[in-house]
């Protein structure tokens, strides 16, 4: 079930104070673990996460997607986006749901598949066999079977 989250005008990726529990049940916060640009930090005094350099944020939504309490949203870059638009995902193991709210309050929802196998189940060879043991040949792992 998708619960609509109200927009707050703070920064590109921002943390809703009320919802962030600092991932207290885990040894590190999810957003800190995932951010590809190492932007998310846990403030140890308040036990809340924050984005330390909003102008280095790619708006990749990795933190938004992974947050266990859905405490992170994105407020579009203020230097070119009018206020009021919101795009919010809800990602499960096999699909992702998106709610897109326009500045004029119109809402569109989309759902797309993201994965056809269970998480953690990947076997690298995927059932293909490698046709040679020759390290100097041009044949790569799983070839020619996988070609």
């Amino acid at each position: 079930m998708f619960v609509w989250i109200t927009n707050q005008e703070i920064m590109p990726s921002f943390v809703i104070t009320e919802k962030c529990d600092g991932c207290k049940a885990q040894d590190r916060t999810a957003c800190q673990y995932i951010c590809p640009n190492d932007l998310m930090v846990l403030d140890t005094t308040s036990n809340k996460a924050y984005n330390r350099a909003v102008d280095m944020c790619w708006e990749c939504y990795s933190c938004v997607k992974i947050c266990p309490t859905q405490a992170i949203e994105i407020r579009g870059y203020a230097d070119f986006m009018p206020l009021g638009g919101v795009v919010q995902p809800l990602r499960s193991t096999d699909s992702i749901m998106w709610a897109v709210r326009f500045r004029n309050k119109m809402v569109k929802r989309f759902k797309f598949p993201i994965r056809t196998t269970p998480e953690g189940s990947i076997e690298p060879d995927a059932g293909f066999s490698t046709g040679t043991d020759d390290l100097k040949s041009t044949v790569l792992r799983t070839e020619p079977d996988s070609l």
Partner: protein, 625 residues
């Protein structure tokens, strides 16, 4: 921060893979297989978290390189010709062919691993364009990184990966690369990785040129801001020869949020026009003749499409629009049945939004913020700032060996994808002159390089010894910005303003200003000249001196310091090579106002090498073989 508490960690391996993106994951997948057969160790080091690191972090809506050779769809030669034409003749055919002949295998693996690929009613992949297939790719990187990690696990204790370790530069013994040094961005640890072979796959370079948005939008670069030139710096400092450092990439994308245009041009058959609705690809077709034979090739090279658009803007005919509304309406109008047409409209709308939501969410937010519905109104497109990325329609990277069965004479020196530095390999954005590899080709090139690097390890079995003195000297260099900050920050009332040092952020802004104004950035319409470049190079020398005074208050800033040193070296090799090539060959990427035409005698590679012994740059012109 107490620098005495910095632990030194030495890790020993046989193959060291640097980076965690598509090329690095391909290398880990491949190398693990061959390492297991021969009892060798493989270690991967990523500055981020592999699950969402590199250029595919956000996901992708298409795989841009798939040939379908087994289905008879295309041949390797056809692909090589396409790439060569798009780069105005400047491409290593042997490297492009090597990637192309293996890439289908990588895509078939992705599908088995769990990547949803669009299928038609007969079960065939849905093509976006001739070489592109559509995917539901939000979790593309999660899936590929899981496969790479599981491959490393198959090695038991011989397989390992380290995350959140920032790699600074190579460890050298004489002319051989024997490892890398760096530091943890999370704890006070300095790392030295010792290896028999090293694979550089740390991505391209962003934020070398000033971006068009400089407020919060600074971070909304087309390519990710965390790809900061580490690859180029690494190979340059190892004394490896570089190629195509002048061949930057200027993508044309939806304006400001830089959403992808591929699906609109190829899948939805949309047109781009000037403000008057004129299709400049038609009205300015005559201009293409000046750039023959490439101007006449189909599809028109990316840089020439850019160029025609730039001419429109110069003529005062902007804004430029992607006519999404017309494209959608045309596709729906082809369906006579009203109910069926409505269903088609819904399907197209969903596809259009997914294209952005899968890979550039910010563009969907941009549409929502501006109340844009693509089926009803057009959207602006524009040329982004320049990027260094050899996996797309740019070409900058290391000069690497081609495969023995495809490479002409001097393009082969023993091991596939080895640079001219012994023991150092490059793949993905790190290797040059093999454009258009994209995600699948970068993964594939990682595989090729990973296998070859294992062969190198077998041929060079002797243990690597690095002296304690060398490690101590490297550590001092790595942590110098922390030391400078500690020594001087108490002198002023503001830690960011201090006459004794410069913080990485302002350092980056200075670099971006130089590159934008002197080396043909977006604000000057991508135009430059000998006089401008020479002046820019002069200002860069001041920067190189000031780089010794970079200061960092914490580990995050230490990473930013080194990222910007990396960018600065990418910038210098770019300026030197643009100067060297006295012609204009890619007018939509940069335009030499003093040499406005393409010249036959520059149908050649412009290479460069920084000599670690002398500190001098050498410029080398190499024939297309």
């Amino acid at each position: 921060m107490n620098l005495d508490n910095f632990e030194t960690v030495v890790v020993e391996t046989d193959l060291l893979i640097l980076g965690g993106g598509m090329a690095a994951c391909g290398a880990a997948f491949e190398a693990a297989h061959w390492a297991k057969k021969h009892g060798l160790r493989v270690c991967l080091v990523d500055k981020a978290s592999m699950e969402r690191s590199g250029a595919v972090a956000m996901g992708l809506s298409a795989i841009n390189l798939y040939l379908g050779v087994s289905k008879g769809n295309n041949t390797v030669d056809e692909y090589v010709n396409y790439v060569k034409n798009d780069l105005m003749g400047i491409a290593r055919k042997d490297l492009v062919a090597n990637i192309a002949r293996h890439v289908d295998s990588s895509v078939h693996l992705f599908e088995k691993w769990g990547l949803p690929i669009w299928k038609d009613d007969e079960g065939n992949y849905v093509n976006e364009g001739r070489w592109q297939i559509m995917i539901h790719g939000e979790s593309y990187k999660n899936i590929v990184s899981e496969a790479a990690k599981n491959a490393l696990k198959e090695l038991g204790e011989n397989g390992s990966y380290y995350e959140r370790i920032f790699i600074i530069e190579p460890v050298m013994i004489g002319d051989r690369c024997v490892g890398a040094m760096g530091f943890s961005v999370r704890e006070n640890k300095f790392y030295v990785f010792k290896a028999k072979a090293v694979l550089d796959s740390m991505g391209g370079a962003v934020h070398v040129f000033r971006p068009r948005s400089v407020g919060e939008g600074l971070g909304r670069s087309w390519y990710p801001p965390f790809n900061s030139g580490a690859s180029t710096y690494f190979t340059l400092k190892a004394g490896a020869e570089m190629t195509c450092q002048e061949v930057r990439f200027v993508p044309v994308r939806f304006k400001d949020s830089y959403g992808p245009v591929g699906a609109w041009f190829l899948l939805f058959k949309s047109k781009a026009t000037n403000a008057k609705g004129e299709d400049y690809m038609e009205t300015r077709a005559a201009e293409l003749e000046k750039w023959a034979p490439y101007g006449a090739s189909k599809p028109t090279p990316a840089n020439l499409r850019n160029y025609l658009m730039l001419l429109e803007l110069e003529a005062g005919n902007g804004p430029i629009y992607m006519r999404t509304d017309e494209a959608i309406q045309k596709l729906v109008a082809e369906i006579p049945d009203e109910k069926e047409a409505r269903r088609k409209m819904k399907e197209l709308e969903s596809e259009a939004w997914e294209d952005f939501l899968d890979m550039t969410v910010s563009q969907a937010l941009n549409w929502a913020s501006h109340n844009i519905m693509p089926e009803e109104s057009p959207s602006e497109i524009s040329a982004c700032e320049p990027y260094f990325i050899s996996s797309h329609s740019g070409a900058s990277g290391a000069w690497v060996s081609g495969p023995v069965d495809l490479a002409p004479g001097e393009h082969h020196w023993g091991y596939d994808n080895m640079t001219t530095t012994k023991g150092l390999f490059a793949a993905g954005d790190a290797s040059g002159a093999s454009s258009h590899k994209f995600s699948s080709g970068s993964f594939t090139e990682g595989r090729i390089a990973g296998k070859a690097a294992i062969a190198f390890c077998m041929d060079h079995p002797d243990a690597i010894k690095i002296s304690d003195e060398q490690i101590a000297a490297m550590k001092e260099k790595a942590l110098m910005p922390l030391k400078i900050f500690e020594e001087h920050s108490g002198y002023t009332n503001d830690v960011d303003v201090n006459p004794n040092y410069i913080k990485p952020k302002m350092f980056m802004f200075r670099l971006q200003k130089i590159m934008d104004e002197y080396a043909g950035g977006a604000s000057v319409g991508f135009k430059t000249s000998d006089a401008l470049l020479t002046k820019g190079l002069e200002y860069l020398q001041f920067m190189k001196e000031d780089a010794e005074k970079l200061a960092a208050g914490d580990l995050n800033e230490l990473m930013r310091c080194w990222e910007n040193v990396h960018r600065m070296w990418q910038a210098e090799s770019h300026i030197r090579t643009v100067l060297f090539r006295e012609e204009t060959r890619w007018p939509g990427y940069y335009f030499r106002t003093d040499y406005p035409e393409m010249k036959e005698d520059w149908e050649a590679f412009a290479n460069c090498r920084w000599d670690p012994e002398t500190g001098e740059w050498e410029m080398i012109k190499r024939e297309l073989l």
